[in-house]
Amino acid sequence: MLSCKDVTLLISESMDTSLPVGQRIGMRLHLLMCKFCSRYERQLLLIRETVRRIVATEEKPGEPPGETLSEEAKERIRKSLRNP
């Protein structure tokens, strides 16, 4: 029998690789019965999805920038480009 501790590791692994069929079935059966582990999986997937969307939004050129280079940094970099 898989414990919740075992299943959390399998949930994470299943996000990076395809599990052998036996492990996958064991994990899915456990998730059907375990409220906490199935919530854990949903939350990890939500974090993944949210991170992806944030990255996509942040990296759209022309998007109003959140973090910007300070003026000092810009000046320093400009200078270094003039005398590379």
Binding site: S3, C4, K5, D6, T8, L9, S12, E13, M15, D16, T17, K35, F36, C37, R39, Y40, Q43, L44, L46, I47, R48, E49, T50, V51, R52, R53, I54, V55, T57, E58, E59, P61, P65, G66, E67, T68, L69, S70, A73, K74, R76, I77, R78, S80, L81, R82, P84
Partner: protein, 194 residues
């Protein structure tokens, strides 16, 4: 083929500086490192302008250089602070499981409408804080996998770890990050809402 838009490097800082900086910041979470790598990217771009084929835009080409610089930085960090036993083991005092592997404190209900989370500007700040609280190996593995979208073979090479160890590192990183977000974001916003 039309000649690609090709700007003089003296315009690069104003044209691409903030964009590249933002790209670096979300991965490195450190202003001065991010500034340095943006500068190095421009310098490498000047030296290597011939490699700009014009099949992509100039900004995509520069991002490609920056990507390599960031991976080099992670490689360097992994060499400086190689994987430790404690990166792989659960700290006994922080384990959410009892001796038989059952949840002692299960994940709480996050409620609300978490699908819209990415729109909340402050959530990125909290995510950044939580990632900064992880060990560099955990944070960099998570960054490469979830932000960069790298496959695990690539990540093993950058961090110089075996695949089996990487599964454990990613598992630990996700578990710690989830708990940090729960404590500092979700539980607070549930209370705020009620």
């Amino acid at each position: 083929m039309p000649k690609p838009a090709n700007h003089d490097p003296s315009e690069w800082v104003d044209r691409y500086g903030d964009y590249l900086f933002r790209y670096a910041m979300i991965r490195l979470r450190d202003r001065s490192t991010a500034e340095d790598l943006v500068q190095e990217t421009f310098l490498a771009g000047i030296k290597d302008r011939k490699s700009f084929s014009g099949n992509s835009s100039e900004s995509t080409w520069l991002v490609g250089i920056l990507k390599h610089k960031i991976a080099d930085h992670f490689r360097h960090q992994a060499r400086k602070a190689p994987l430790e036993e404690s990166d792989l083991r659960e700290q006994p005092d922080s384990s959410p499981f009892d001796g038989s592997g059952h949840w002692m404190n299960g994940p709480t209900d996050w409620g609300g409408n978490p699908a819209d989370l990415y729109r909340e500007k402050k959530f990125l700040d909290q995510l950044t804080k939580c990632l900064s609280g992880l060990s560099p190996n955990h944070a960099n593995a998570f960054t490469l996998r979830e932000i960069e979208g790298a496959d695990t073979g690539e990540i093993c090479k950058v961090l110089n770890v075996t695949e089996t160890n990487l599964w454990v590192i990613l598992h630990r990183a996700r578990m710690l990050l989830r708990r940090c977000l729960e404590a500092n974001w979700f539980e607070k916003s549930v209370k705020k809402g009620s």
